[in-house]
């Protein structure tokens, strides 16, 4: 699932740049595409995937606020434990959850991240492998 989405997104990033595009710009686009595909394939049931997609879509300077009733910041937890605070910052959407849910979401996030990294590594490896064929 992730592979399909990611490859499609990759080709899109590529095709949008026959004009002059620096590799860093492309790298940023690829990274954004990677996170978007990861979140999209994880499903809307996960809090981190929803938060991640929201963060990605909100990036193009959107000033218009949707009138949708979104429950955010239900309970800003007073973080006494520096480890917990760090984990909240790392996991997308981790600011509003309880500790228990934070751990659950972190587990799922780690799983999906690992899969995404494996996928990207495979693509790079196979591409460079073909490159090295003489």
């Amino acid at each position: 699932m992730v592979a399909l989405r990611f490859l499609r997104a990759l080709s899109l990033v590529r095709c949008s740049g026959p004009g002059a595009r620096s590799p860093s710009y492309r790298a940023r686009g690829i990274r954004r595409a990677a996170y978007a595909c990861m979140a999209a394939s994880a499903g809307p049931r996960r809090a981190w995937s929803r938060a991640l997609l929201r963060k990605i879509r909100r990036r193009p300077g959107r000033g218009l606020r949707r009138p949708r009733a979104v429950i955010r910041r239900r309970r800003p937890v007073g973080g006494g434990d520096p480890l917990e605070v760090a984990l909240r910052r790392l996991v997308p959407g981790g600011g509003c959850m309880e500790y228990c849910r934070l751990l659950e979401e972190a587990a799922d996030y780690v799983k999906c991240l690992a899969m995404q990294v494996r996928l990207m590594q495979t693509i790079v490896d196979s591409a460079s492998h073909v490159n090295s064929i003489d």
């Binding site: 699932m1 992730v2 592979a3 399909l4 490859l7 499609r8 997104a9 990759l10 080709s11 899109l12 590529r14 095709c15 949008s16 002059a20 590799p23 860093s24 492309r26 790298a27 690829i30 990274r31 595409a33 990677a34 996170y35 595909c37 999209a40 394939s41 994880a42 499903g43 997609l53 480890l83 760090a86 984990l87 790392l90 996991v91 500790y99 228990c100 751990l103 659950e104 972190a106 587990a107 799922d108 780690v110 799983k111 991240l113 690992a114 899969m115 990294v117 494996r118 996928l119 990207m120 495979t122 693509i123 790079v124 490896d125 196979s126 591409a127 492998h129 073909v130 490159n131 064929i133």
Partner: protein
């Protein structure tokens, strides 16, 4: 209360009862004759050789089974129902723990009543059941039903019993997370307030999640202590995020132009049936096995045919194409220039024809829109 009833079972008091009860007594005698050779012990021992208490030794589910078995004989039993009530008053369940289980008592009463007929129908099976079942501990079927009195009584129990039941209730607890009631047993010496129970449940949840995380993160199972484990987890997440960054930079550098649409169609053909097979929940787990192999194979398969496209390309286009694209890209690509095979990547969009490219981009754009819209 046993002796007067057992004497009532005997022959002497029959004159005091109505003729319906006399029938009952006759049945009781039959039961006694059936049961005595089967020599039941265990939970029925304290009550002596009474026939009904032997039947009361059956666990509740056995009673229900008997109920269902002899469902056809309901009309018969209803006749003697009135007569049996005074006889059943002094009954008590053989176990100590069952002080107030009215539902069980009624169930067992009916079982006692119906087992008369069950014994008639299949003496072997009932005696076999009576032999086997009293040996079983009666606690499992009785436990789930009342939790209020059980909770309060538990603090007075012996530890061995409680720990034995705790292991049974451990499974109930995990089920209890989904049920509206959480049946929790307090350990010896621990408070049974609602607050501390809730806190304990929450702590157990957190510990379970932490264990999951420990399994996910490599090298975390040896570490003891929550702080170190958390530290390791945070480290791992940061490492993964950094890896994503590096890999995206490499991807941007390595392949400036690859036709992914054919790769796309190949993969969709492959994983179409797979995704249909998977439920909505299993998407993350299952594809982790095959996409890496599939993508590796697919990219290799995709990139290799580009060798053939060279023949179709008129040779004068070659230097122009390579120069323009490499000039556009940064210095990162200079290392790839001497490699002749990289120029193959540049040819593909040219080979596929310029007219196809905008069409494909439109198609892919909608695909990505669909991908991003959950």
């Amino acid at each position: 209360m046993e002796p007067p009833r057992s004497s009532g079972v005997g022959i002497d008091n029959s004159g005091e009862y109505s003729p319906e009860i006399a029938e009952t007594l006759r049945f009781e005698e039959e039961i006694q004759s059936l049961i005595h050779p089967s020599s039941f012990d265990g939970s029925a021992a304290p009550t002596g050789g009474g026939s009904f208490t032997a039947l009361l030794g059956l666990p509740a589910n056995q009673a229900v089974e008997l109920l269902h078995d002899s469902g056809a004989r309901e009309p018969l039993a209803s006749r003697i129902r009135v007569g049996e009530h005074p006889v059943h008053r002094p009954f008590h369940l053989p176990l100590d723990c069952s002080s107030a289980f009215p539902s069980n008592a009624t169930l067992v009463d009916r079982a006692a009543r119906f087992s008369v007929f069950a014994a008639e129908g299949s003496p072997a099976s009932s005696s076999g059941r009576l032999k086997a079942e009293p040996q079983d501990s009666d606690s499992p079927p009785l436990d789930p039903i009342p939790t209020g009195p059980a909770k309060r009584k538990d603090t007075g129990r012996s530890k061995a019993k409680v720990t034995a039941k705790k292991s049974k209730n451990a499974e109930e607890n995990t089920d209890g997370d989904k049920l509206p009631y959480v049946h929790v047993r307090a350990r010896r010496g621990q408070a049974t307030d609602n607050h501390s129970l809730a806190e304990r449940a929450r702590r157990e949840k957190i510990n379970a999640r932490m264990k999951l995380l420990q399994e996910l993160v490599p090298g975390c199972s040896k570490i003891t202590g929550t702080a170190l484990v958390l530290d390791e987890i945070i480290n791992h997440v940061q490492t993964l995020q950094r890896q994503v960054e590096f890999l995206s930079m490499r991807l941007a550098a390595v392949n400036p132009r690859i036709d992914f649409s054919s790769l796309d169609s190949y993969l969709s053909a492959e994983c179409g049936p797979v995704t249909v097979r998977n439920g909505p929940g299993g998407v993350v787990v299952d594809p982790s096995l095959w996409p890496t192999d599939a993508t590796a194979e697919a990219t290799r398969r995709l990139l290799v045919p580009q060798f053939w496209h060279i023949d179709l390309v008129p040779p004068q286009l070659q230097p122009q194409q390579s120069l323009t694209t490499w000039e556009r890209d940064g210095a990162a690509h200079s290392q790839l220039l001497p490699n002749p095979t990289t120029s193959l990547f540049l040819y593909d969009p040219a080979n596929s024809g310029d007219t196809n490219v905008p069409h494909r981009t439109a198609k892919l754009k909608t695909a990505e829109d669909r991908a991003l819209n959950l």
